[in-house]
Symmetry: C2
Subunit: 436 residues, 2 copies
Amino acid sequence: MAEQIAVDASKAFGVLKALTNEQRSDALKRISSALQQARDDVLAANKKDMDYAKEHSLDYSLVKRLDLSRGDTFDAMVQGVLDVANLEDPVGKVTLAKKIDEGLNLYRVTAPLGVLLIIFESRPEVIANISALAIKSGNCAILKGGKESYHSFKAIADIINKTLAETEVPQSAIQLIQTRGEVFDLLAQDRYIDLVIPRGSNQLVRYIKDNTKIPVLGHADGICSIFVDKEADVEKACRVVVDSKTNYPAACNAVEQLLLSPEVADDSDKLNRILMSLVEANVKLHVTPEIKLRIGSSIDASFVLDAAPDAFDIEYLTPDISVTIVADVAAAVNHINEHSSKHTDCIITENKATADTFLKGVDSAGVYWNCSTRFADGFRYGFGTEVGISTNKIHARGPVGLEGLMSYQYQLKGNGHIASEYVGAGGSKVFVHEDL
Amino acid sequence: MAEQIAVDASKAFGVLKALTNEQRSDALKRISSALQQARDDVLAANKKDMDYAKEHSLDYSLVKRLDLSRGDTFDAMVQGVLDVANLEDPVGKVTLAKKIDEGLNLYRVTAPLGVLLIIFESRPEVIANISALAIKSGNCAILKGGKESYHSFKAIADIINKTLAETEVPQSAIQLIQTRGEVFDLLAQDRYIDLVIPRGSNQLVRYIKDNTKIPVLGHADGICSIFVDKEADVEKACRVVVDSKTNYPAACNAVEQLLLSPEVADDSDKLNRILMSLVEANVKLHVTPEIKLRIGSSIDASFVLDAAPDAFDIEYLTPDISVTIVADVAAAVNHINEHSSKHTDCIITENKATADTFLKGVDSAGVYWNCSTRFADGFRYGFGTEVGISTNKIHARGPVGLEGLMSYQYQLKGNGHIASEYVGAGGSKVFVHEDL
């Protein structure tokens, strides 16, 4: 069953890959209006999921994310599909053109990756969004939603499927599956599936990474750090640390570790201002002994905890932060490269040279200077729709937009050219290698 | 032991990553002259490997590849290190610059990947070459050579290590290991190693892919095809097919399958010209029944074999080729997407529209029109040194130059900017998102 799904997707890819931008965009426009017309049906299905969630008292934030009738969620979904249709075509862009010899030209051309397996929890509108991105970029997608959004998912999926039947895009370009068992089997289809994109909890991402040989675009942990250098503006440090920690503590780009230079930690005014700003924002401080020694009486002791042995290797996702001292910027870089999850790390300093040392030394997707780690996000970066945030170093890194769904191919166009006439392969002809 | 090697490399990366181009290039210049000065010692060590190989009658091509004294191999190695030193700096190139808001600027900057594990068989000069590429690109490398090149490898490794001690590049940036057991353990160090690059037999690559969670840059099989369209120039078809098959049959970019359109197969003159050109070049034809039916008596029967059941899923690496009929260009695309290893595939046709259909539909790293598959090579593409040829669709694809060793990072530079002041995170400020 799983293999058949993957094979069908792979076959559909051969067709979808060769369609024009007009053909792909036309399918999206039709899906957008079909969704608009089916608004009542989709919301009725969504209400079933909401009722189930409320009856079974699933947690509040999950219920809220399920709700397609909240605010402009539905309209935004419909408009989102149309917006993607109107994006510039990401397929077939020439990114390199080289004359190899007279009449023999090499082109590097952007091309879709192939078959994507997208697994997500909650947020049923993501189905429409990610289907649109897949079709626009010429990729086939196998989508698996969470069981809490079963009815919403099915309603949207049916509309997409029915609409695709009227277009040039093969129906099996977008396949929507619902049972849990199939995911495990799909993760074994590395021959047909090119990339897995999990959208959900750390547990989900970790499970997927541990159970597949297919490349996974995403991140399990977001262990972000802020280093407050001796030449930091303390006012900025307070603003940035508090925002990074409290704006949305459950996000992967929230800060989890505060590293202080000795000059800051030894200055009781500076230390207290920074720590007080966190305490006033209701953040619990998990401090090392050297920090504890230096904390003044002005800080409410109930907010000060001893740092656990793993305090610098965990993601709290709650209003908690680990605090320690590192000797200088070099020590901060070492600490971060050893402990961070290579997501986003920040330095607070007024010294540009120190900032440069930090930005060059830290091996994370985002390296920040005097600004909140919460900016690590595709929308804030201006990438339009976000496919995910990657802590991989291979392929796409950091917040990933449509680009992350693209690969490239080399096209070589000749006129009967053969290698054996050239140097290195038995002949004497020399390559030209001129940019076109 | 393996973990310590990986941890040391990872620590060295923090230092190497922050060095300037001058510091990295200076180390390479010193290595180049040290190798030049140690020429006699290295060749003496190499002679030991050669003597061992001859005594134990390792196969001829392997012995030949071992020999550092053949032609200008040694000088080319020394010069190669210097050439890499003089390349443009691949680190720190700004590939995107965007104003997010007043005083908040985003830059995407090229950065080294991290720690590379490079495993290769034979060809001892590759050590110097790949060490140079790693250092130039700011990557640390763990290198593992084959046992047949033990002495050569050790001699070159000692020189590189001794020389690095006099430079800013940490000694453990380049670590050279020799025992087989360590490879298996190193493949488990996915926390510290970012990319594995195998240079050797299909068996080696397959073993590595099956035994690691670290991304592998390379290819196991090279199953390349040529489709001769009904509008092919038969003269070009003969030239290109023979070159693709016979120029170097053991190469990954040699053709293994010949797909003929019915119009070509049914034209006995065309069919015989194409097949005769292969037979005259001593190539054995593994044909399907429909081809066999059509073969004329002019072809020596001893060159005609029945295609085995897996004839379209194997890599011969010998002067053998599978031959069949496919209905048209669409069928050729389907056949190739199902059977090829996504390395390099070619169409022979005089019809541009047909060629376009093929180039757009085939999902391989190289899609060729009227030219030999043997051109799929970093040197022939003008990429300078080749790191490998990748059949992955994630990260680098096709022949991979220095670019394939690079990732990127997002640098965000602000002045105390916090997310909660902006729309979407609780505030009202709007992002500017202007290209810089």
